[in-house]
Chain length 95, copies 2
């Protein structure tokens, strides 16, 4: 299993727009790829304008398929104007 933590810091005032957008994107992504085991966007409780997208993939193929997908690229294009910074960390499951 591969786990990804994407820390998303928004531009001020864009939280409502971001939440509306991910509410549409997340279910679509989960349904599009059976190799996606977990894929959720969540609001940090103690960091302003900060969200984390938590992702788990069955294997590297599933992750590569998702990253290369047309639908993800379109989703990201719509989100980027809201985003001030994004930090992506990739992990290999230990247990």
């Amino acid at each position: 299993m591969i786990l990804v933590v994407a820390t998303v810091r928004l531009n001020p005032g864009r939280a409502a727009d971001y939440e509306t957008a991910v509410t549409e994107i997340m279910p679509r992504v989960r349904e599009a790829n059976p190799g996606i085991l977990f894929y959720h966007a969540a609001r940090s409780r103690d960091e302003a304008d900060t969200y984390r997208v938590i992702e788990a993939y069955a294997d590297q193929d599933a992750m590569d398929q998702h990253i290369g997908s047309e639908s993800l690229q379109q989703s990201l294009a719509g989100l980027m104007p809201m985003i001030a910074d994004i930090d992506i960390r990739i992990h290999d499951k230990v247990a």
Copy 2:
């Protein structure tokens, strides 16, 4: 759903000990609490001696029950000597 990302930075040379310990702890934690939806330790690919424990709870009760459990306290006591720093971020699911 509540999502927790715990970033664990180990003392140098303790990775093998940490991986051995979490390999025993993680399944036990998952089995102990039906409110735990996701609970895995994973090794960061591009940060030395860095792991993240990714956790998802059905609700606040499930999380509180886990945090207050005797077994978690015992597990943490065994892990702490290996750990240089730990950063815990709690999130509420958006989508």
